[in-house]
């Protein structure tokens, strides 16, 4: 049976049956007896002082139960949302990170910043109250443009953050890098914009907060990627309730991409308000609110330089990046443009010297935090654009230039913290070149030119650091938490198994892949395994799902717990078979005394573990349940080669991706079908960033791309049928050899697309998103224009 369902099997997702038949149970599906509804009143101004709020104006609306403002939260000592990762500036000073009040305390700092909440008997009453609530604002000048925000005459978002700067951070060896550039034969210089993205998970955020005055306990049902972290923050920083009095349940969650890692004002206010009105309080975000209030992604301005010797070997790399953090430094926002970004600037390359400077800058815009890839897409875009441009400037083939500079021996210590443990970058590149028929490209390009099309090819040989993360390492870099994962394996008397995991599934398919691991190891059918997650009363603790960590860290915890279960089961089997524990072998669900035909099956061992008849009590406890807290020894380093081939209509600027090859090395793969789905989705998101998605604020800080009328998500007809393949180098730093696959596509894709477009138009001046209009404009400036005409 293990062959059909075990590790490596292409098992259909168990959870899809309920998702595609409408049986999923999302937060918005939950309705509690006596429930009231919340509507948030949000700032229409990017920057303003909040004057008087006339609660009576909303209370007059029939059905309104209560109106709360920042003053009410302050009176209850509800804290502000913190940033959980401390970054130190290069001058030694700590980052400047004022907390984000859940409801405004005197000032609003972006359009959509919550000012008040109205609780109503019905959603309609709550919205009517929000509509009627009179709030006085004294508008202040807003700072919106990232490039101008640090100038001395820019308005201040936070009075305590001079020049709107949260921190000025550096990584790497400045002197060694300067030396490398001094002796360079050629230096490539580029300026890049990494466009801001709105996450747009299919399911908007939602919350139902419920207070039980009988037990003085709270329950929060919410759309979270990490319910235990939400509980920890609400307990330790926000003062909602101590952890043993607060249960957080994240039921089915419809996508997160990072945006549901964080603790937000709305969820916090719902659970707090439930005790004030002594009724459950429900809130479901609408799409327009989501555009304003979900943490955005990316938004960097970068100047990057690459130094080469006369043989085309890289001598050094340096970058200066301004990262827009929005109006507040969000929960993990400080780590994204620093330790998740600059640590990946070595790419797949052996670069002797790297120096990175990153300024985190406040503006009157929605806070920016991790979004699928979180820092690593930004790093890959910088490195892979630099590499491509450097190859073109020095007249080298971009594939050959990469190969010449690849890291080829492992472990490899980069100049920017990371130690790559395993990989074979040339193997991925070679396979990808073959799949795309690289040698036939020139012919395809001239054929396209005859048809008035500009054809281009672009590479992205990306690397990422996943399996986040060794607690010791992240602690030394400023993280406020450890990033291990927990698991508990409970065997029932009939031999069925419940796995309690601290990972959280919101589209990843854990109920399938985790069950595959258990089936494989215990030799039982997958249908006898239940994966339990997303409830702080069931799972003791967990760090959740993001950073492609659930396989490498979450499953490793399950693997260690399974080892312990098998060890205990062997003791039981030894007792039952009257043999020595050391002589028991366990294979395919059978315990056998080595070298004999005496054996007992899994189900009998499980049953006897609970009947416990005749157990020598001093040596053998009844029951069969083990847990583990697994802390990885290193990050994992998924890497691969994506090649994008596209055609541009020279008359309209419309880009059509005609072929996409991805050869990824994710280490060991549990379920190839699920991995392929992750790669497909990741590439789609990366192509969305490269071609379509753009978050635009006007100069007064109004979000003018705030709906799907103006913000373009990728659709199926924007994408080709992908050609995927894999190479495998086993990850040495976890027991399963897994590297992770959840973010790779989004990390690799933008550089591949822009490298292909710039190849097609013949110059480097193409920014994301490369819409048809932008590409058409680029063609007007292009030396390739004549070629097509």
């Amino acid at each position: 049976m293990a062959r059909d369902t075990g590790i490596g099997a292409r098992v259909k997702r168990v959870e899809d049956q309920r998702f595609i038949t409408g049986k999923g149970r999302y937060t918005a599906d939950l309705n509690r007896p006596g429930q009231a509804h919340a509507a948030f009143v949000r700032s229409p101004h990017a920057h303003a002082k909040v004057g008087s709020i006339d609660k009576a104006s909303a209370m007059e609306v029939p059905g309104v139960l209560a109106v709360f403002t920042g003053e009410d939260l302050a009176a209850d000592e509800v804290g502000a949302l913190p940033c959980g990762w401390a970054i130190t500036s290069k001058d030694g000073s700590p980052m400047v990170a004022p907390g984000h009040p859940c409801l405004a305390q005197g000032k609003v700092r972006y359009v959509g910043d919550p000012v008040a909440v109205v609780i109503g008997e019905t959603l309609s009453a709550a919205r009517g109250g929000a509509e009627a609530l009179e709030v006085e604002y004294e508008e202040l000048p807003a700072v919106v443009d990232l490039d101008a925000a640090q100038s001395s005459d820019a308005p201040l978002v936070h009075d305590e953050a001079a020049r709107n700067t949260a921190f000025e951070w550096e990584l790497g060896d400045k002197a060694a890098t300067e030396e490398a550039f001094a002796k360079a034969r050629h230096v490539t210089r580029i300026d890049l914009v990494n466009n801001r993205l709105v996450p747009n998970a299919m399911e908007p955020r939602a919350a139902v907060g419920e207070y039980d005055s009988g037990t003085d306990g709270f329950t929060l049902y919410t759309t979270s990627q990490n319910p235990h972290v939400a509980r920890l923050v609400m307990s330790a920083f926000l003062n909602i309730a101590p952890e043993h009095k607060l249960r957080v349940i994240a039921p089915d969650v419809g996508g997160g991409f990072g945006s549901k890692i964080y603790v937000y004002p709305e969820e916090t206010v719902c659970v707090w308000a439930s005790s004030k009105v002594d009724r459950p309080v429900k809130w479901t975000c609408d799409r327009a609110e989501a555009f304003l209030s979900d943490a955005h992604g990316r938004d960097h301005l970068t100047h990057a330089e690459l130094a080469l010797d006369e043989q085309g070997k890289i001598l050094g790399l340096r970058i200066k990046t301004k990262a827009n953090v929005g109006g507040y430094l969000n929960l993990f926002a400080s780590s994204v443009p620093t330790y998740l970004y600059a640590t990946l600037l070595s790419g797949q390359y052996d670069i002797p010297a790297i120096y990175a400077e990153v300024d985190a800058v406040y503006t009157n815009t929605t806070p920016v935090d991790a979004y699928r890839g979180a820092g690593r897409p930004e790093a890959t875009f910088v490195v892979e654009r630099l590499i491509e441009v450097a190859a073109r400037e020095t007249g080298m083939d971009p594939a050959e230039f990469r190969r010449r500079n690849f890291v080829t021996s492992f472990p490899h210590q980069t100049p920017v913290i990371m130690m790559y443990d395993a990989g074979d970058y040339a193997a991925s590149l070679d396979k990808a070149l073959e799949l795309i028929d690289y040698s036939g490209f020139a012919q395809r390009k001239s054929q396209a030119a005859r048809e008035g099309k500009l054809r281009g090819i672009g590479f992205s040989t990306y690397i990422e650091a996943c399996g986040i993360a060794p607690s010791q390492a992240v602690g030394s870099l400023g993280a406020g938490v450890g990033l291990w994962e927990s698991a508990e394996v409970r065997v029932n008397p009939v031999g069925t198994v419940e796995v309690l995991t601290g990972s959280h599934s919101h589209g990843q398919g854990h109920e399938t892949t985790f069950a595959q691991l258990v089936a494989d190891r215990l030799g039982i059918p997958m249908t006898n395994v239940a994966i339990v997650h997303g409830d702080t009363d069931k799972v003791q603790f967990g760090m959740g799902t993001y950073g492609s960590r659930s396989g490498a860290v979450g499953m490793s915890a399950i693997s260690v717990a399974l080892d312990r279960v098998v060890a205990k089961a062997k003791k039981v089997a030894a007792h039952l078979l009257e043999a020595s524990e050391g002589d028991i072998e366990f294979k395919d669900g059978q315990f056998t005394v080595s070298g004999t035909d005496r054996s007992i099956d899994w189900t009998s061992v499980a049953l006897n573990a609970y009947t416990a008849h005749g157990f020598p009590s001093a040596d053998l406890e009844p029951g069969l349940k083990e847990g583990a807290f697994y802390d990885p020894t290193n990050f994992t380093f998924p890497a691969g080669c994506h090649i994008c081939e596209l055609e541009i209509d020279a008359d309209t600027g419309h880009t059509r991706i005609v072929n996409w090859v991805a050869v990824d090395d994710f280490g060991e793969i549990i379920n190839p079908m699920i991995v392929e789905g992750q790669v497909h989705g990741g590439i789609a998101q990366g192509v969305g960033q490269a071609l379509l998605e753009h978050t635009v604020y006007d100069e007064s800080g109004q979000l003018v791309s705030g709906s799907f009328m103006d913000y373009t998500m990728p659709r199926a007809d924007d994408l080709p049928s992908f050609s995927l393949d894999f190479t495998v180098t086993r990850c040495p730093s976890n027991p399963l050899g897994i590297k992770g696959c959840g973010e790779a596509g989004a990390i690799a894709a933008p550089a591949a697309v822009i490298n292909a477009i710039t190849d097609a138009v013949g110059h480097e001046d193409v920014a994301m998103p490369a819409t048809a209009e932008a590409v058409w404009q680029a063609i007007r400036k292009s030396p390739a224009r004549e070629a097509a005409e």
Binding site: S43, A132, Q702, L703, V704, G706
Partner: protein
């Protein structure tokens, strides 16, 4: 977000009559599309409540209207600021200038410079100029009718 709009209408009345109408709260109230309240605070200040629809965003805007830079019977600036609840806000003004039309009547020209914010800017930005133009057309259509209730003549518009 900024919204700018200019236009011109020819009205079938002399300059003095048009000027009087532009300063008459009852005529303004009857002319403002969706106006539910228009209350005179002083000769140059009014409070207003109007229903507005921009694409999918519907709201009731409550605000004040002030007349300034008055040069009778030639021009004034009409400015205001309104709160539309969760729909956001609108503020700004228009310079309104009157001149004699060739062959009788009065040419009214306006130059609007306004800011809108919140949901109305977020969701309605592509629709806002069209909605504003439509509102202005409706206003002057109503205004013309007030000037000359017996001879409402749509073909007099030359916006």
């Amino acid at each position: 977000m900024a919204m700018k709009m200019t236009g011109e209408y020819t009205l079938p009345a002399d300059r003095e009559t048009v000027w009087q109408a532009l300063n008459d709260p009852a005529i303004l109230e009857a002319s403002i599309p969706g106006c539910e309240e228009f209350e005179k605070v002083s000769d140059t200040e009014f409070n207003a409540l109007a229903r507005v629809k921009v694409g999918p965003v519907k709201a009731r805007f409550r605000g004040n209207v002030t007349l300034s830079d008055i040069d009778a019977p030639n021009s004034y600036r009409i400015s205001g600021e309104g709160q539309g609840g969760v729909a956001g806000f609108a503020k700004g003004g228009a310079l309104v200038t009157l001149s004699d039309a060739e062959g009788g009547g009065t040419v009214l020209s306006y130059d609007v410079d306004a800011q809108v914010g919140g949901k109305i800017a977020q969701v309605g930005q592509r629709l806002i100029n069209g909605a504003a133009k439509k509102t202005a057309d409706q206003f002057f259509d109503n205004f013309r009718r007030q000037l000359d209730p017996d001879h409402a003549a749509p073909d007099a518009a030359a916006g």
